[in-house]
């Protein structure tokens, strides 16, 4: 039997799996906010809870506790901290996802998109998903010390603030365009 015989079967199998995945309806979990609310809520990420998270993960607290409290308490606290770190990572992923969704909405509503930016975003999403899963699995398995989240969180909060400003600017531009077209009686695009 020739190689191409099996190659076509394998190819068809892959095509079928991809099609079922791509064409299936969104589950309730995947159903998301409408576009207007996504743009409106962009910038209100989970990083708002950063001070509490930082406090919960502070290394000095843990060192103090492990010196003063019995071993089982320290162990318990360590487990809790891992859980908090894991939950925080999930929240960061949600923020990443919301940024991504804004990018998709902008692409959808643009008269022209650049292939370079679009493919770059797909690559970044794949890399983020891979790294996120690796860190999360190691955290859950107890193979990784509690990460220092300060740098990451600063970045995300910075992002959100700047995105909010960018969205505001976008809204103003859209309003300007609408009012300029009103006078000519034309529809936008």
């Amino acid at each position: 039997m020739r190689f191409s015989f099996y190659a076509f079967f394998a190819l068809v199998g892959v095509l079928l799996l991809l099609f079922v995945w791509a064409a299936r309806k969104r589950t309730r979990r995947e159903k998301r906010l409408p576009e207007a609310r996504v743009l409106e809520e962009c910038g209100r990420g989970h990083v708002a809870h950063l001070p509490q998270i930082r406090q919960a993960l502070a290394e000095t607290d843990y060192v103090y506790l492990s010196q003063k409290a019995p071993a089982f308490v320290a162990r318990r606290v360590r487990q809790e901290r891992r859980r908090v770190a894991s939950a925080y990572l999930s929240a960061v992923r949600e923020d990443f996802g919301s940024l991504l969704r804004v990018a998709k909405i902008i692409a959808r509503l643009s008269p022209e998109v650049a292939a370079l930016h679009e493919f770059e975003r797909i690559r970044l999403t794949a890399v983020f998903a891979w790294r996120y899963q690796m860190i999360r699995l190691q955290l859950l398995a107890g193979l990784m010390p509690i990460p220092q989240l300060d740098g990451l969180s600063d970045l995300v909060s910075g992002l959100s603030v700047r995105m909010e400003a960018a969205m505001k600017e976008l809204g103003e531009r859209a309003a300007d365009l609408a009012s300029s077209l009103d006078g000519r009686g034309s529809d936008i695009a």
Binding site: R2, L15, L109, P111, V113, R121, I135, L152, L155, A174
Partner: protein, 262 residues
């Protein structure tokens, strides 16, 4: 063998009935205006049935003339189906001007690559060249529909139920034809009768799905979204990408730094 041939004849008659039903349904619901290429495809398949029926009666099932006519008409049918698929892609994505510009180029490029691949792995035998070409075209159609749905999934585009059913029917029929042709290429003589039967069966299943899809009148043009100014994309897309890249970098640093600390 006799039972297979009887079943095949019955299925063939059923498929003609269903094609006529789909044709009538498209006309009755005025969906031929919404999907003119799909309507043309159904019409071409009806004509194909008529031509094949006449050909087999005049020259017999196994004559070279019948074979040439059958494959000639098949070329027209596949071309009409490819146009119907292009029409569906356009209906789903053309509302989103920027994405459509990107998508149609990608669709064309991928279809070209698939055809080259299908040609490269086919047997260098002129007798089976037609079969290989047919398989290559079917594969290209299936890949085009898949790419359409990958775009839909990625950009979270809402697809009409009718389009979903029509595409599913077209996709599964093409995929099935690829498999059927691949088996036929390897066991040409012993599989030929079963190949016809299974091919007709798959087509009947697709016809039922298409009839279900067009049972109601469809809006001629789906509502178009209000586009943003082009400058918005030019400003925001690179910014968002930069932020996503930085976020990735941070995750990477956590991973590597913590890995070293262990």
């Amino acid at each position: 063998m006799g039972e297979i041939i009887t079943a095949e004849k019955a299925l063939w008659a059923l498929s003609v009935l269903l094609k006529a039903g789909l044709f009538a349904m498209l006309l009755y619901r005025k969906n031929h205006r919404v999907y003119p290429y799909l309507f043309t495809y159904v019409l071409v398949t009806l004509v194909q049935s008529l031509v094949l029926f006449t050909t087999y009666r005049v020259w017999g099932f196994y004559s070279p003339t019948s074979r040439n006519i059958a494959w000639g008409v098949q070329a027209l049918v596949i071309a009409a189906r490819a146009l119907a698929v292009a029409e569906i892609c356009r209906r789903v994505l053309a509302r989103y001007q920027g994405i459509w510009e990107l998508a149609w180029r990608m669709l064309l490029a991928t279809v070209g690559l698939v055809l080259v691949y299908a040609w490269a792995v086919s047997r260098p035998n002129w007798q089976q060249a037609i079969l290989s070409t047919d398989r290559g075209l079917e594969l290209a159609i299936a890949v085009a529909i898949l790419i359409l749905f990958l775009f839909v999934k990625y950009y979270e585009i809402v697809v009409e139920t009718t389009v979903l059913y029509l595409s599913t029917g077209l996709f599964f029929f093409s995929v099935f034809s690829v498999l059927n042709n691949t088996i036929l290429e390897n066991w040409l003589h012993s599989y030929a009768t079963l190949w016809n039967l299974l091919g007709t069966l798959a087509f009947v299943a697709s016809l039922l799905l298409w009839i279900w899809a067009v049972r109601e009148k469809q809006p001629e043009t789906p509502s178009e979204p209000e586009l943003m100014p082009q400058s918005a994309y030019r400003t925001l897309a690179p910014q968002i990408n930069l932020r996503l890249r930085n976020l990735n970098e941070q995750l990477s640093q956590i991973w590597h730094v913590e890995g070293k600390r262990r």
